[in-house]
Structures are given as C-alpha cells and as structure tokens.
Symmetry: C2
Subunit: 218 residues, 2 copies
C-alpha cells in the first residue's frame, strides 16, 4: 500500500511538472533545479552568480527551505526577483509547490530561473519540478565517498560543482577518486571545481549557464 | 489522504519503536540515534569513539546508508560488532529496519549501541527507532545558519557535536551565533566542540556516553 501511495504522489507530481515544463518552454526560460547537502554552498554560489550575470541575463530565483527566509533574504540583496517556498519541515520541493509560486513571478522577460532545493542529498533528486536540468553542489568538506553513497542525485544532475576547493589542503578529500566516482555514475556529466568564497573556477559554470540559456532561446 | 497515510506510517513506526525500546530496557543497553548531514563526520566520530572506549564498554554499531557498506567497513576495523542497514534509496532509518537487524546482534553483554542514521538533516529526526537519546553532528563547514534552518533535529537531540573545529580559521562560521541559536532551540542540550581528525574536545563526549551507560545500567 505504501508503494501504491508513493506512485500516486509521484504520478501527481509528474503531471504538474509537465505543466511547469510546458510553461517554461512557452516562455523560453532555462530552469535549473539546484540540489546539495545543507551547507554545501548553494546560496553562496547563487550570490556569486547573481553578481556576475544579472546585468547580462534576466534571472530569477526560487528558494526552498523548511523554515526561515534566510536564503531568500541573501538573494534579495542582488536586486534579482526571488520567491521563497517554505516546506514546513518537508524534505524536498515538488512540482505543485513550484507551480504555486510561478504565478507570482513575472516570467515574460526571464532567461534563467534557478530553483535552490531544500538542503538534502536524498529526497530532492526523486521529484521533478519541470526543470530543464538538475545540478548538484558537493562541498569537498563532505568527503570523497559521497557520490557512491548518494548516487541518484549525481546520476540525475547534468552538472556537478565541487565547491570549497580553497580548503582542500586542510582536508583528506581525494579529488581524483571523487572525479572518477562521479564519472562512473554519470559519464557525460559536466564537472567544475570552484571556490565561491575565493571566486575561483566559476567561469566554467557561468559559461555552462550562458550556453544553456542560448540553447533554450533557440 | 497523504496526511492519513503519513499518520499510519508513523503509528506503525511508533509501535515497533516501543518494542525496540522495551528490548533495550530489558537488556539495559543505552541506545543513541546519531544524525547529521552527509559528510558532517558521523563515521569518523564513531571511529574515534570505538578506539577510545571499546576496551571499557561493550559496544555495537548499526550503520544506516542508502547504498554501499563503506561506513560499516570502516567501523569493522575496530573489532566492534557492526550491522549494515541499506535503505535502497530511503532517506532515513525507521524502527522496523532496526528491529530486523537486532535479531542478528548478540545483545546480552552490550552496554552501548550507536545507530548511525542516513546522512540527512531532515527526515531521520521524524522517526523514533526506540532509542534512549538522539544526537546530531553539525560540521562547522556547513555554516552557522543551519540550526535555525533545520530546527527539528536540534530540538530532538540531547547532544550536539560541533565538528571540524580544526578548520574554523578557514571558514566564516560564527561559533557564538551557532551556540546561541542551538540553545534557543533547545535550552538543555549538551553542546560539545570537537575535531575528530585532530582528536580534540572528545573527552566531554566520552564522559557523556559513560554517564548515560551508567544511568541505564541503574
């Protein structure tokens, strides 16, 4: 019975995700569903990205959190439209939650929408929200064993950002092993090493976003 | 309907948790449900704890992971009984999973059982497994905003281990703010600052475990 209920929930989610996807296709907006553990650096990555690209692309952000508007408050400083979804303890965003806030965003001139999912390496990867691509931020302080322990999010993601490489010397993180595991799980994935606090390695990420936005515009 | 189903699942879980709890009471085993984000350092903490206490206490470990036996393999090196639960993608342990592996552990001489839950700051806190206490490991690399963003796990835990303090100088983590937020959420919580790789601050944690084991023995 639990399996049947899970299928019902996923079935309903997929129907709404398809509606979101159709809307994004109509408006030609590239939508990225950004995932990662708590504290992997998703919001700091978005802060850097807003600062670097907001004069070049029309962007908006949806922030998913269990409680608080801490992340949305950080993004709002960059004068980019930001919507907060509070899941009230829920461990992931789903397509209906995203659909509900989309009605409050002006979509007509938008090029890029980034949805920062709840900090969780497990559940968010199971729910499509109508996005064009998923991405995952893995901070090197989490350890090089994480891709094989949490494979779904790495298989589902088109881009992996290995973050906090500035503190690599103070950890036992094996970069070669991590890269190999990620490529084993997902041979075609785009893999970028970045430090958001030192602003290094981010050009590849920006170029990846630019190319995706261009492709969506057609 | 989803709410009703969630109540059914939690109701069934609580019934089995009560059975586990009765067994632990009968055997006078102190059981800790240890939670934290992926890469917060739970397994490394257990490795240090095995090395320090295994000649003094009869210990066993249950390792919860989505896939792989990577953590159980690490614990097994310490010649402490270890059981692996693989949730096949599930985001938390529940009481029935724990009950199933308990039948394969020799409980009669055990003083302390530590259950390392799935790396996830959200879902594990919602499911009792029959434990005497919950604990959470928060690595300072995750950021000082995490207690307020993930309040349930901090409210539920009797002890909070702030881990990786050795790399505090290379982060922007505000220790005073984190301590204040944790105490706001849970005034009576035990809070310990540790570095598992540098083996510092762990004596308080060992003493807390010793006291809990003694109290359970009665």
């Amino acid at each position: 019975m639990e399996v049947q209920v899970m299928q019902d929930i996923l079935g309903k989610n997929d129907r709404i995700a398809a509606e979101n996807q159709a809307l994004f296709a109509d408006k030609k907006i590239f939508v990225l569903n950004l995932m990662g553990s708590p504290g992997s650096g998703k919001t700091t990555l978005l802060e850097r990205t807003m600062a670097a690209l907001k004069d070049e692309l029309h962007m908006a952000v949806i922030e998913g959190d269990l409680f608080t508007t801490k992340d949305a408050d950080r993004i709002a400083k960059y004068a980019v439209p930001v919507m907060q979804i509070n899941t009230s303890g829920g461990c992931h965003l789903d397509a209906p939650m995203v659909q509900e806030v989309l009605s409050q965003l002006v979509l007509d001139r938008l090029d890029l929408l980034i949805v920062e999912n709840v900090g969780n390496l497990v559940c968010p990867a199971e729910f499509n929200i109508g996005e064009d691509a998923k991405g995952v931020v893995l901070s090197i302080t989490e350890g090089d064993d994480k891709p094989m322990k949490y494979p779904l999010v790495f298989k589902e993601s088109s881009i992996v950002l290995l973050n906090k490489v500035d503190i690599l010397p103070y950890t036992n993180f094996d970069m070669a092993a991590a890269r190999e595991d990620i490529h084993t799980l997902h041979p075609d994935v785009k893999l970028v090493e970045v430090s958001c606090v030192q602003d290094t390695g981010l050009k590849d990420w920006y170029d990846w976003l630019r190319a995706k936005v261009r492709a969506k515009k057609g």
